[in-house]
Subunit: 316 residues, 2 copies
């Protein structure tokens, strides 16, 4: 029996951690967004993979939700002294991931092989798969022009008004080895779309054609956990982007965005009024994950909800 979870970085990783804690290690497969990946200072950075790995191994800086705890910043200080680019902050310990990943990719290893190696070395028990070994790059069309993801997200701090999004390379990207197998596994109990930003973190995954088809065709229920709490994003620009894209900023609009893929939707109790406008079975829960107990509780609630949907798919 197994669970597949689709996730981006910080927000999604919280629920992924909850799932890890309530499931046996071999029962969870994480499929992680790589649309944010980029080459910076010559190094291949996979922000969402690293955030998930750090979160699930306990290495994460819990205050920021990304990067390592007990980090030092000597490299960035020295780089500033050399006139190098410092808008994307790379901690000294974090840098080891990027250097080792880049070295292995240059030696011909796939991103999924490198990810598996690094995660195993850090003691991660669950299987973590990049959505694809082929490059997919999220591009943000804004009122200030088209931006690469990190230039929009980190350098410009999500300030530019988003008018459209694109996922360059997605059309021809193949799911990474293991992704389709996980979605077609006979023992698959549920697919959980974690409460990550639907446009920035989940859509790049869904833009990989064979992955989307496999998700659509999979026998197990597909459940999304709402990234909105009381009509607001817990962190990040989800609500801002929804408004800029001209849609009403409420949880039902997120469910509608996933229409055709979902069998169930976990809605925050503060948004319970949205339930009537969601065309799939809804589970109302406290989705705010403040502490570890919250993460485990939401994971259990989501899995129990999936259990009620198994055997007969909800109508979209």
């Amino acid at each position: 029996m197994s669970i597949v979870a689709l996730t981006g970085g910080v927000g999604g990783a919280k629920l992924a951690l909850g799932l890890q804690r309530v499931l046996a290690p071999d029962a969870l497969v994480l499929v992680v967004n790589t649309g944010d990946d980029f080459v910076h200072l010559g190094l291949h950075v996979s922000p969402d993979i690293d955030t998930v790995v750090y979160t699930l191994t306990g290495l994460v800086n819990v205050e920021t939700g990304w990067g390592r705890a007990d980090e030092t910043w000597t490299f960035m200080q020295a780089l500033a002294g050399l006139g190098g680019e410092t808008w994307f902050r790379l901690g000294d310990g974090d840098l080891a991931m990027h250097v080792e990943r880049t070295r292995r990719l240059a030696a011909g290893e796939s991103l999924s092989a490198v990810t598996a190696h690094l995660a195993r070395r850090l003691g991660l028990g669950v299987k973590i798969l990049p959505m694809s070994d082929d490059p997919v790059r999220t591009r943000i069309v804004t009122a200030d022009g088209e931006l690469d993801f990190q230039n929009y997200f980190v350098e410009r701090r999500c300030v530019p008004v988003v008018t459209a999004l694109g996922y360059a390379g997605a059309d021809t990207a193949r799911p990474a080895p293991g992704v389709l197998e996980a979605l077609r596994a006979p023992g698959l109990e549920a697919v959980v779309i974690c409460p990550s930003n639907p446009w920035l973190s989940i859509d790049p995954i869904l833009a990989v054609p064979a992955l989307r088809v496999a998700l659509h065709d999979c026998a197990a229920p597909v459940i999304a956990v709402s990234p909105l709490v009381g009509g607001q994003a817990v962190k990040g620009p989800t609500a801002k982007i929804m408004a800029e894209l001209g849609m009403p900023v409420y949880a039902a609009a997120v469910a509608r965005h996933y229409e055709g893929l979902l069998d169930g939707f976990v809605l925050d109790e503060r948004d319970a009024g949205d339930a009537a406008q969601i065309g799939v079975p809804v589970c109302i829960a406290d989705t705010l994950m403040r502490d570890l107990a919250d993460r485990e509780r939401l994971a259990r609630t989501t899995l129990e909800f999936a259990g009620t949907l198994a055997g007969g798919r909800g109508a979209p």
Copy 2:
């Protein structure tokens, strides 16, 4: 009026610092060994250039003679946790040099352009030139087989017995821009071969054909400062290599090694007995550089000695 100094890392950098302190900034041109350069973890490391830059900008770790003072080692610790290669220790701040150099080289800049940029950013006033922008790689033939320089020097700690040395790529390497101009400058007063290891640090420079010819033909006196003090190397494997290559371990053998290029030799006072066996004019001095005053004093002594040789080249 100008001085050219040929130098390797730690030992040579001490005299280079002395020369910097007694000369006007625009009067000194340093030509640095790049035979130790290598690509490690995907990064282009130029150990001798960095040691010289750190030494002359005051950033150096004075206890080791290489690397940066106030360094942190979080990257190496994290890399060890990932199962990466840790035999060559890269400090967090030092890493900024390698990352920025690698990025600029990949973008098409030459090593000399990158070196000039990094040195300028760190406030270095004197001109620092790699011996060549073309790759030259020192290879050590040992009783245990042929080794790359860093594998011999760092990983194997100079333990294998040296039977021969080679400088791969030297035959076709061209001097970096500025090197021949410096050696042919009408105002050139002296060329100083710093007390670096003749086989590991100076010979790679001399193995660049056009550089060697220009040195041989240059109008100014060429002075070598002995790397031996009392028949011993101050640091490093100079004496060990001399013995392994079957030559007598004394300063006169170093002078003989440079035969045909030298117009004068600065001999340590503890080796004064060697003077009669050296076929060029000799200056006897205290060459041990314990502190800054020693470095300045030896620099002045060397330049004054060169002054006595100017106008009429000593017979080899």
